[in-house]
């Protein structure tokens, strides 16, 4: 079992923390994990991304060059990374800020969730990325959602702990939206 997740979006969207959340939860769940950010001048461009590897075996290379899953929080990220997703891989994107009209091919599956809108509804636009994380957890079942919620306590610094509830909510919303879409029989394109 090997999941190589690429999370990507704008600088302020909490991409790196969301990746750490996944890694922390994976570790707590007994998986081998690795997290690696994009770093350096790319940040000037206002984009951020990170790769998270979750595996039941020791991880050789932590670089995520061909993700099995892409969580894309904005249009540039979706455009740039969707073509790099492995055949049969999963793409979950923030349909509040991005659209995908073209074909994907190679059996890749695509799911759009209005993460930003959902986060605004929850009351904190910064938790939007966890809507996608929740969806990823629900669709892959790689880690119990509870583990991910517990990991919030470790990953968020103490002065951010008042945001735990909003983040948990985002995870739940993402999970249920994803399951609903799949349950509704909406084929993941």
């Amino acid at each position: 079992m090997l999941e190589e997740v690429l999370l990507a979006g704008f600088g302020g969207q909490g991409i790196l923390s969301a990746g750490m959340l996944l890694a922390q939860a994976g570790m707590a769940h007994g998986l081998h994990v690795a997290w690696i950010p994009s770093y350096g001048p790319e940040m000037r461009g206002g984009t951020a991304n990170c790769g998270v590897t979750l595996s039941d075996r020791p991880i050789s290379c932590p670089l995520v060059t061909e993700p099995t899953t892409l969580l894309a929080m904005n249009q540039p990220s979706l455009d740039k990374f969707a073509p790099k997703v492995k055949p049969g891989g999963l793409i979950i994107y923030n349909s509040s800020l991005a659209r995908w009209d073209g074909e994907l091919g190679l059996g890749r599956r695509l799911l759009g969730l209005d993460a930003t809108a959902q986060a605004e509804a929850i009351g904190n636009v910064r938790v939007a990325v966890n809507v996608l994380v929740g969806a990823f957890i629900a669709l892959t079942q790689i880690i119990p959602l509870e583990r991910v919620k517990e990991a919030l306590r470790v990953v968020l610094p103490p002065h951010r702990h008042h945001l735990i509830a909003a983040n948990e909510k985002a995870l739940e919303v993402g999970a249920s939206l994803a399951l609903a879409k799949v349950g509704e029989g909406i084929a993941l394109r």
Binding site: M20, A23, Q24, M27, H32, V33, A34, W35, I36, P37, Y39, G40, P41, I59, S60, C61, P62, L63, T65, V154
Partner: protein
């Protein structure tokens, strides 16, 4: 043992603190900046000093001063910054001062880029500075090993009164992995350094830290004493790890980040029925020859894989000495060879055997 998720760059720092290092002098550079960021917070907590130097040249000379004063001290940088330290490193070796230098390597030459690379191997193991000196050089390949080898690095530096270089790369520095972190136990009892320049009070005699010996015979004697140290390192300090080497006919050789890719490649090759194995040097100097000698009986070829255009491969060739073909596969400029690439290249080598 509690496991925590830790960034490689932070593990360099925490490993140093747990080794009793209380002084850091350095100059920021990507991809190692989280190391100074971490120590800028952490050192004051343990009564240490974080000082941002005006340059890498100043940093390495501050290290020289702190080491002369008897402290466990370190600096860290990335490729261009390490190049700037070469004069200082030669001085540290010449004056026999212990310290630890971390190089989180990036793409070169010149400004290059900030992506991971291993193209400073020659500089680290052959002496990038002037003179007949050597650095003891350690190459961790996971965040856990970074933490562990930092302790070893400081111990070896003191044991040999020699600078120790720890080679990482952008991936090792930037990635987070779980590490086992025993509770922090505070100050260590470190062996005394009667040679340190701390003032003559209570000692009577003067201590001098120096690398100038105007008479060639004297300087040669110093160099021979250094060489005796290096020979002792060669006898006592070689470290390596092997994987499936016993039955291996195709032996991959890789260090650091590359060794992880190579290990996965070995697994994949085994799955495909090719008797592959891996030698992972942990000390790059002294270079571990024993596993090669162990491999000769079965090995039909060696395949060295590096994130450069062929550097460690020379030490492998010097070790193998023509007994067996030595092949090389490398990517450079910050490109990391994938497992698939290594497997494909290995298969080509295998088919031609």
């Amino acid at each position: 043992m509690p496991r925590v998720l830790m960034k490689g760059n932070e593990a360099f720092g925490e490993g140093a603190i747990r080794a009793g290092c209380r002084y850091f002098f350095g100059y920021p550079i990507t991809p190692q900046s989280e190391l100074p960021h971490y120590l800028a917070r952490r050192l004051p907590e343990v009564g240490g000093v974080y000082l941002q130097a005006e340059s890498e040249v100043a940093a390495i000379n501050m290290v020289y001063g702190a080491a002369a004063a008897g402290a466990r001290v370190m600096t860290s940088s990335s490729s261009p910054g390490i190049s700037l330290m070469q004069e200082g490193i030669s001085y540290l070796a010449g004056a026999e001062l212990p310290c630890v230098i971390v190089n989180v390597m990036r793409g070169g030459p010149g400004l290059g880029n900030i992506a991971p690379a291993q193209s400073d191997y020659f500089q680290a193991v052959k002496g990038g500075g002037h003179g007949d000196y050597r650095l003891l050089c350690l190459a961790p390949s996971s965040v856990q090993e970074i933490l562990d080898l930092m302790g070893l690095a400081f111990d070896l530096a003191d044991k040999y009164r020699n600078p120790v270089m720890v080679l990482g790369d952008g991936i090792l520095g930037q990635m987070m992995e779980p590490v086992e972190l025993p509770p922090y136990s505070g100050e260590l009892e470190l062996p005394p350094k009667p040679w340190a320049t701390t003032g003559t009070a209570g000692r009577g005699t003067r201590n001098i830290i120096n690398s100038l010996y105007i008479e060639p015979e004297e300087l040669e004697a110093v160099n021979l004493r250094l060489r005796a140290k290096y020979q002792r390192m060669e006898e006592e300090e070689k470290r390596w790890e092997t994987y499936l080497l016993e039955e291996a006919e195709l032996v991959l050789v890789a260090f650091g980040t590359m060794a992880r890719v190579a290990r996965a490649a070995v697994e994949r090759l085994r799955e495909e029925g090719i008797a592959a194995g891996l030698i992972r040097p942990i000390t790059l100097y002294p270079f571990p020859d024993a596993p090669f000698h162990a491999a000769f009986s079965r090995a039909r070829a060696f395949l060295v894989v590096e994130m450069n255009l062929g550097q460690m491969v020379e030490d492998v060739r010097l070790t193998v000495e023509g007994r067996c073909p030595v092949h090389f596969y490398g990517r450079t400029g910050g490109v990391v060879p994938t497992v698939a690439e290594v497997v494909n290249f290995a298969k080509e080598v295998w088919q031609k055997l």
